[in-house]
Amino acid sequence: MGLKKFIDKIKPNFEEGGKLQAFRSVFDGFETFLFVPNTTSKSGVNIHDAFDSKRMMIMVVIALFPAFLFGSYNVGYQHYMLSGLDGSVWNMFLFGFLAVLPRLIVSYAVGLTIEFIVAQWKKQEIHEGFLVTGFIIPLIIPATCPLWILALAVAFAVIFAKELFGGTGMNFLNVALIARAFIFFAYPTVITGETVWVVDHSILGLGADMDGLTAATPLGIASTTAAAPEFNMNMVWGLIPGSVGETSVVAIALGALLLLYTGIASWKTMFSVFAGGILMAVVFNQWGPDNAMAQMSWYEHICLGGFCFGAVFMATDPVTSARTETGKWIYGLLIGIMAITIRVLNPGYPEGMMLAILLLNCFAPLIDYCVVQRNVKKRANRILNNK
């Protein structure tokens, strides 16, 4: 318990009036990170469940790890394959990891700095929400995204989509998706097209400098040409170009298992997103326009693009999703339907998941309102019938 003693010794410096009080929130964050706070309840229940928001957020980060690790490998795999180089699995992974790591660092550094400053300013504890957001952002952008644009996007999202509304738990839009949407609308060239999905330079001696490496995502091909790419198992394993974490259905499924098992993500939301997507894909197959995207089979729709990643990690965000159980069914279903609809009917942009989730984020409170209003009406009727 030497560490505990040391922390207790330096603690007074960080309290109000101490030498280092400007770093109170940072200290507090690290202290509670190291030890479960042993403050005891003063009012209300005398005992509490051991589950808290720190543990919740960490579980989501753990669930994201398979997608992160496989995504890193895939970044390397795409580079080695397109440059025609030979490389071991380890080399490919290391290359991809080194390509993704700076984005992860920038995302966390910018976001957490803002969080620490806000916590210090509002005299609050650090909210853990950004642990998840900061990990998701590098996974939903291409590995070539310039760091300064990423930094700008993270700052924009954290400040305008979260802190302005009151911090974690008060935001109504998914913060990670706002960061992506910021890049998408402000700097579309770094997140769309054929040149952004493959790293075209060597990193620390790994890989090779190859100008003009291009690779379109399968969805991109489907939206610009007459025929969708043939379905193959690489789409399931994730060895296709795309944003870092979104390509592998298998890795995402591993994360989904953990989230469902621990009950952190709602199975209702997750299930109904897939149900909505499949339903809409089948509808377009039957009655849709005669283009490649509309005629793509439902399983290809599900496997490609950000559909799985969005359904598992972003639609289920409890804060921005519908909060009533009935609402979750409707919310998820509409996300699935909208995502496929945008893919098929919007010629300008092949992917619809981001816009679908953000759109339904806006409508989630309305869905909940309608669900709760049924209960309110029931109560009002009870009074009427009594008279």
Partner: protein, 450 residues
């Protein structure tokens, strides 16, 4: 047998230190006290001075707004002290008992021959009316109201709570008399648990009987009312703890106020948890003497772990407390990296811990730590899983936090009491003080409606 109402939502928290079935006679306490803050909503006006002699059943204070409602001393003796807190609020009136107890004589009366109003005024005179609580607002009942009904729950599903069948043994006649008295005032409903078999519970007269089955909070009277017939705006229902029904029966059968009761003394830090026959208002030190496993880092709770309040040995058994619980405080525990460590011994309903894997009989040690920082509401559906009422708890809480009276009404605040949110507060990963929020909401609403 009445139809069984099954509740699925809820949670039985299995704590270490369950009381054995034995009932021990407690030694008498050196002082007894009546604590006005126990009687929510009452503005106390003292009826005695220090050094004055009182009999058991004599008023110690009255309700300023309803002087006919008296609150009486459990014992005869000398008023030792009137303890006051901030703004001269009366915290407790302490009585030193005589060696020979003298009771105020209320004549024995046959309930059947009395009218409802006569029963009511008899209860007010004898100080037992103060055991009525009312919904809405969860305060002591207003004698001017005509309640739609009176609800009694004959079982307590709180962690380690006493088994009412043990409390009832020997008091069966008084219990039935008490129920008959209540039925004179308003239609009375008794709710029992499916596991209760005592004839005094299953074969009651003059009341409607309902049988409930399910995890905590199935025993909460608020949940039962919500299932049987919810409280609407403008309606008033009264509730009473089953122990108080026994007090009322004694008043009619014996002609005295006898607040002797059987409480549970339970919890992990108690040696041989058991039942204790003791007078209401006894000093807690008398109750826990020789029963504590250690002196430091423990928490004595006046009541159960969910709704009870932290107390010290110098405090007194609360008028509504049916148990004293002692658990570890936990302020000496430092868990390293709690967000990732497996923490096999920690109890949680969440599957991020392993406690759900252990067998359903296993009992857990839970200390008084909050185990996390307060956050905004993040997880959804946490409260709903343990809240078996036809209400959206999260939306009601948000309406209360934002002080929106219209929404509070629409979302059903008239049906709830803080105790109904105790389990929600236990499971809440955002660690919000829900019972305090609901209490403040009810108080604000009451002030607004006055």
């Amino acid at each position: 047998m009445a139809e069984i109402i099954r509740l699925r939502k809820g949670l039985d928290i299995k704590l270490l230190g369950n009381p054995s079935c034995e009932v021990i006679q407690s030694e008498s306490s050196d002082t007894y006290a009546l604590c006005p803050p126990d009687f929510t909503g009452v503005t106390p006006k003292l009826a005695v001075k220090e050094q004055q002699m009182v009999k058991a059943g004599e008023a110690l204070f009255i309700d300023k707004n309803h002087p006919e409602v008296k609150f009486v001393s459990p014992v005869s003796g000398e008023v030792l002290a009137v303890n006051r807190g901030a703004r001269r609020k009366v915290l407790s009136i302490v009585v030193k008992p005589d060696a020979k107890q003298k009771h105020v004589e209320f004549k024995t009366k046959s309930v059947q021959s009395l009218s409802g109003d006569e029963v009511k005024s008899h209860l007010m005179e004898s100080g037992l009316f103060g055991f009525f609580r009312q919904r809405p607002y969860d305060i002591i009942a207003n004698p001017d109201d005509t309640p739609r009904g009176i609800f009694v729950s004959a079982f307590d599903t709180n962690p380690l709570a006493p088994d009412f069948e043990i409390v009832l043994k020997g008091n069966e006649l008084d219990f039935q008399t008490g129920l008959s008295a209540l039925a004179k005032i308003a239609p009375t409903t008794l709710s029992i648990s499916a596991s209760q078999t005592a004839q005094a519970l299953t074969q009651v007269n003059n009341v409607d009987l309902y049988v409930f089955k399910g995890p905590h909070p199935a025993g909460n009277v608020g949940v039962q009312i919500n299932r049987i017939r919810p409280v609407n705006k403008g309606e008033v229902v009264w509730t009473m703890a089953p122990e108080a029904v026994i007090f009322i029966g004694r008043l009619f059968n014996k002609g005295i106020v006898d607040l002797t009761r059987i409480i549970a003394v339970a919890g992990e830090e108690i040696v041989n948890p058991t039942y204790l026959r003791i007078m209401s208002g006894a000093r807690i030190s008398t109750i826990v003497k020789g029963r504590l496993k250690r002196k430091d880092h423990i928490r004595i709770i006046n009541g159960n772990v969910l709704t009870g309040v932290k107390a010290s040995e110098d405090d007194y058994l609360g008028s509504f407390a049916n148990m004293i619980t002692v658990i570890p405080e936990g302020d000496d525990v430092n868990e390293f990296m709690g967000w990732i460590a497996p923490r096999f011994k920690q109890y949680s309903v969440s599957r991020t811990f392993f406690s759900w894997l252990s067998c359903s009989k296993k009992r857990f040690s839970i200390d008084a730590r909050i185990k996390g920082g307060t956050r905004h509401m993040i997880m959804s559906n946490e409260y709903d899983k343990v809240f078996p009422m036809d209400i959206y708890p999260e939306y009601l809480i948000k309406a209360i936090i934002t002080g929106n009276i219209d929404k509070m009404e629409a979302y059903g605040i008239y049906e709830v009491a803080p105790e109904d949110f105790a389990l929600c507060e236990f499971v809440d990963s955002s660690k919000l003080e829900l019972q305090r929020i609901v209490r403040e909401g009810l108080d604000n609403l009451r002030a607004e409606m006055a």
